[in-house]
């Protein structure tokens, strides 16, 4: 009985548990040892296959700017919302300050639409102020307005530096 294809293949692949029997047979049988060496030659031929060269460099996609954009950390993306919220607060606070300066500008054509917007804002602010919690004590109005406006602006500035600065860091480094 000659070796089966399965026995021979498992033997060359080092996946057999009848090693000794197979080796003994190979030693005695010319036909099977010829099949064995044919198989080994096939392995050598497969191993001899040279690598083909690429026609393009696959690394450029990773190295060139605008290639891979790293996912920013989650807290960094949250600063965008914080910036928007603070900007809105600053805008609301600044409205009364701006309105005190607007009457000083003497351009009637500009004033009419501005007054309309201003009255819209004022009515909105009025409705907003009625929503205010009654527990808030009355502070001297200009002081709280100016200081909180500056605080909000400083907050936006810091968040802008953090958010946009860090987001752009990778591109600046290149």
């Amino acid at each position: 009985m000659h070796l089966t294809d399965e026995q021979l293949n498992e033997y060359v692949d080092n996946e057999t548990n009848e090693r000794e029997q197979i080796e003994l047979h190979l030693h005695l049988c010319d036909e099977c040892s010829k099949r064995f060496s044919d198989l080994q030659n096939l392995f050598l031929e497969l191993d001899s296959l040279p690598d083909l060269q690429l026609t393009r460099d696959l690394s450029t996609r990773f190295i060139s700017s605008g290639g891979l954009i790293q996912q920013p950390p989650r807290w960094l993306t949250l600063t965008v919302f914080a910036q928007a919220a603070l900007a809105l607060i600053a805008l609301i606070i600044s409205i009364p300050v701006i309105t005190t300066y607007i009457p000083q500008i003497d351009t009637n054509s500009l004033m009419t639409p501005l007054f309309e917007i201003q009255s819209l804002w004022n009515t909105w602010l009025d409705s907003l102020s009625t929503l205010q919690l009654p527990t808030i004590p009355e502070f001297p109005i200009p002081i709280i307005e100016m200081s909180s406006l500056l605080l909000a602006l400083a907050g936006i500035f810091v968040l802008w530096i953090l958010g946009n600065g860090l987001l752009l860091r990778n591109q600046i480094r290149r």
Partner: protein, 178 residues
């Protein structure tokens, strides 16, 4: 100064250094492309899938165990992608007609070697795709029967029968007169 090891580069890439990853790609792209080419036998598909392999690997870098060798891992990712690609192409029989010949230039002294390797490639290309995959994983990625069965999600008996038949077919092709 010594060149950084793969391990160093991957650690840097894990921290988001895409340039370090670019260096990794430079080192392994030929081997990954050849995995794809041996399975697909179509240069443009092989290049696209090699690129895709590195993109996928970059996104999955946090799952890569830094204590392991990168080369076998990335070749396995490539083989897997090619397998999925072949499965998605299964319905069309176009693939077999689109296999291209190796048209790259070689010095005249190497013509014989080149003819021989072209014959090997042709023989590989003539195999059914599932045989070709098993040959790739066994001969070029040196995986065990069990590992191949796991990778391709096929029974061990299929791994053996595909591999043994593939070898028989290859031997016939390679020893047939031109």
């Amino acid at each position: 100064m010594n060149a950084p090891t793969d391990r160093d580069l991957i650690l840097r890439a894990k921290r988001g250094d895409s340039e370090a990853y670019g260096e990794i790609v430079t080192r392994h792209q030929t081997s990954v492309f050849n995995v794809c080419y041996r399975i697909l036998h179509n240069r443009s598909d092989a290049e696209d899938l090699a690129q895709e392999t590195f993109m996928r690997a970059y996104n999955r870098l946090n799952t890569f165990d830094i204590e392991r060798e990168f080369a076998p891992w990335i070749r396995r990712v490539a083989a897997n992608l090619c397998l999925n690609f072949l499965e998605s192409q299964k319905t069309s029989t176009q693939l077999d007609d689109e296999r291209d010949e190796d048209k790259s230039q070689s010095p005249s002294g190497q013509v014989e070697v080149k003819e021989r390797s072209e014959k090997i490639r042709q023989a590989l290309a003539s195999l059914p795709s599932n045989y070709r995959l098993v040959v790739e994983l066994r001969h070029y990625q040196e995986m065990s029967y069990d590992e191949i069965a796991n990778e391709l999600k096929i029974p061990l008996s299929d791994v053996k029968s595909h591999l043994f038949r593939a070898r028989k077919l290859l031997a016939e092709k390679l020893h047939a007169p031109d």
